[in-house]
């Protein structure tokens, strides 16, 4: 009874078109943002921020990127890891060549590099679809992975093949490198994720989102109503890769502090895809849910059993994690293909009539 739309009338179309038309939703969103921006950094432990919140936000961003391509436009991509890698390495090279330019600018710029690569590997989508397109994206994945490992230019000819992140500052405060505090890094990541989620939300609720979904649902009909297929698909590749590229740069610069090329392999692509499937294809909030489940679950698996007195070998944790994720994928595809996001919506529906059952 406290989650009701009754009495909330809209008197013009602009109000009706709002993303969160229901007042309770807006309040909920404000609360979440408050928790994220104030409560967590103030009260959260270093472990929570460094090992949970920062990577969760970064993976959510990557999941949003993939969701735009696969969930909204229907183009299955297995190259997410590689596009994240392009962003990371682009940022690294840019900041190596121009160390005095603010790193935030380079992070955004690396998104554009990633977008360009995404468009290049998205060109085949004009002629091929579905499973075949997925194979084409695998070509991108393997080729780019190989580049990161075998082309020493990418890692500045470093003997170990890995890259290490230099210290960069913002207004005099270090935000990357060994001296950057985790709360500082958290705020930078939070800023990126909030802004980019807002932009993505704007896109999918307007003309562009409709174009993408039309291509997903029936591309022949979309062609017919005047939607230019190639441009729309390439736009999806570009936007999606931009998001993944920025996520990759954030991953290396604001979380790991360095990277080995093996980080951006096909397994990463699959993990992000699983986040999108479980969270909900075609849902931005779903991307967050999926990232939470897939990322936080292994941490919980490692953390809780010892507290309950059950000894757990770290390698076993990883194996069980794979099994649980695999089983969850199948389960979600069977029971709720629209993922956690749909379950969330159903939950809200029930909340609308609470305390009545229906």
């Amino acid at each position: 009874m406290f989650y009701r739309e009754a009495g909330q009338f809209k008197t013009n179309y602009a109000a009706d078109l709002a993303v969160f038309p229901i007042m309770q939703d807006r309040i909920g969103l404000a609360i979440i943002l408050f928790i994220a921006a104030v409560i967590i950094p103030w009260f959260g432990s270093s472990f929570l921020i460094q090992a949970v919140m920062i990577p969760f936000l970064i993976f959510s961003l990557a999941a949003i990127g993939l969701n735009l391509l696969t969930g909204y436009t229907g183009l299955l991509s297995l190259g997410t890891g590689a596009f994240m890698g392009v962003g990371a390495y682009a940022c690294y090279k840019l900041t190596s060549y121009f160390p005095s330019v603010n790193i935030l600018i380079w992070i955004v710029a690396s998104g554009f590099f990633s977008a360009a690569v995404g468009v290049l590997f998205g060109l085949p989508s004009l002629r091929i679809k579905g499973f075949y397109l997925a194979v084409a994206t695998l070509a991108a994945q393997f080729f780019l992975s190989w580049c990161f490992i075998r082309q020493p230019w990418f890692y500045n000819y470093n003997a170990s093949g890995a890259i290490e992140v230099p210290t960069r500052t913002l207004f005099g405060i270090p935000i990357t490198g060994a001296t950057a505090a985790d709360t500082t890094r958290y705020f930078v990541v939070l800023g990126f994720v909030v802004v980019m989620t807002w932009l993505a939300s704007n896109l999918v609720h307007g003309r562009i989102g409709r174009m993408w979904m039309a291509v997903r649902d029936m591309d022949l009909a979309a062609d017919l109503i005047g939607i230019r297929l190639l441009q729309t698909k390439l736009l999806a590749f570009a936007t999606s890769s931009f998001y993944c590229g920025v996520a990759g740069a954030l991953l290396v610069f604001l979380w790991y502090g360095g990277a080995e090329p093996a980080v951006f392999d096909v397994n990463l692509s699959f993990f992000i895809l699983f986040m999108v499937i479980i969270g909900g294809l075609g849902s931005l909030t779903g991307s967050f849910f999926g990232a939470a489940l897939i990322f936080i679950m292994p941490i919980a698996l490692r953390y809780f059993p010892p507290k309950l007195g059950i000894p757990v070998h770290p390698a076993t944790v990883e194996h069980i994690q794979y099994m649980i994720i695999g089983a969850l994928i199948v389960l979600f595809l069977i029971a709720e293909p629209a993922g956690l996001a749909r379950l969330w919506q159903v939950g809200k529906q029930k909340l609308r009539v609470w305390p009545f059952p229906y």
Binding site: F143, R150, L273, I329
Partner: protein, 337 residues
């Protein structure tokens, strides 16, 4: 790869020499090298064919399942590893080789049954892409499960105990040697037998016809009384047998480990090349990819930094996709409105 001559070495960094230099290095030099040491060429070709046979076998498993249930079974690769590990696992616990083989076959049947019950049945009539994604889930589940039960270390295949031949035959030719491993010859023979059996099975038997009907349309097959469940169990079991054979042959050559699973991803370009629904396509595609990869890696690889095997097959497949998406032998995809 074993060879009797030394490889030419060159710097692995992508340098930017003059134009003529590049043209020579890419379009002329490799062929000169081929001509200069023909025994090496034949050796490379043979290695390529051998790899190709194994790719074909994996692709065969995919084609079987796809032909008969319309599902693209991404988990085929891990099934190969799983089958091999189960076999070795039984043997390690003291079970004699051929009994272990029989038990593994039973396990593969159990797997087929479980997959049909838990994954295929609930997802009947869903769009293909959903089933495809479900096999991702299956893959990761099997990876975790396999590692949990068998451990992650590399194991040695019980090739001797299964009476598989060892050693090599050396053939003198063109001023050098070409060395053919007996196990590879055995693999080629066994693969051919398997393909022939499957082809006959599909074309001539009643069950084979039913399998083809199911591939065409689940609903239509149901309406003429074909039991989808039985068909699916049969076909996944058959794919499991193919996986087991592949696992044995591959393991005999280069040990059993989870790295095999990623190699199995190579089967995807093979299928693109050959056509998803064609058994001869899987064979031809596998051989072409195998040979192409090895030649590419040996003669052009050093120019670019080596390791191009990881993506070369995919680029070939991509080119095919752009010009002939149905592959060499597949059916033309026509969209009707």
């Amino acid at each position: 790869m074993k060879s009797n001559a030394t490889r030419r070495s060159s710097t692995p960094i992508l340098v930017w020499p003059t134009d003529m230099d590049i043209l020579y290095k890419v379009f002329v030099d490799p062929f000169v090298q081929m001509g200069a040491a023909p025994d090496l060429l034949v050796q490379t070709l043979w290695e390529g064919l051998v790899a190709g046979v194994l790719y074909s076998l994996i692709a065969l498993g995919f084609v079987l399942i796809f032909k008969a249930s319309g599902v693209f079974n991404f988990a085929q690769g891990i099934m190969v590893v799983f089958a091999a590990l189960t076999l070795v696992g039984f043997h390690e616990h003291g079970v004699p080789a051929f009994l272990a083989l029989a038990l593994t076959i039973a396990v593969m049947f159990g797997l087929a049954f479980a997959v049909e019950r838990l994954i295929l049945r609930p997802l009947v009539n869903q769009p293909d892409i959903i089933l495809f994604m479900a096999t991702f889930g299956l893959t990761y589940f099997l990876i975790g499960f396999g590692e949990l039960i068998f451990g992650g270390e590399t194991k040695v295949m019980i090739a001797d105990q299964l009476l598989l031949p060892r050693g090599a035959i050396d053939i003198k030719m063109a001023g050098g040697f070409v060395s053919l491993q007996k196990i590879d010859i055995a693999a080629a023979i066994i693969a051919s037998l398997m393909v022939a059996t499957l082809a006959i099975f599909f074309q001539r038997t009643r069950i084979g016809r039913a399998l083809r009907a199911v591939a065409d349309s689940h609903r239509a097959a149901l309406s003429v009384g074909i039991s989808l469940e039985q068909i699916w169990v049969i076909v996944w079991f058959a794919a499991g047998l193919v996986a087991l054979t592949t696992g044995i042959m591959w393991g005999a050559r280069s040990d059993v480990s989870f790295a095999l699973e990623v190699i199995a991803l190579k089967a995807l370009p093979v299928l693109i090349l050959g056509g998803l629904t064609s058994i001869p396509g899987a064979i031809v595609g596998g051989l072409i990819i195998g040979v192409g990869e090895k030649l590419g890696e040996f003669y052009w690889g050093p120019l670019m930094g080596s390791g191009i095997e990881s993506w070369f097959a995919y680029v070939i497949a991509l080119i095919f996709l752009l010009f002939r998406p149905q592959g060499l032998f597949g059916e033309r995809i026509i969209e009707r409105i």
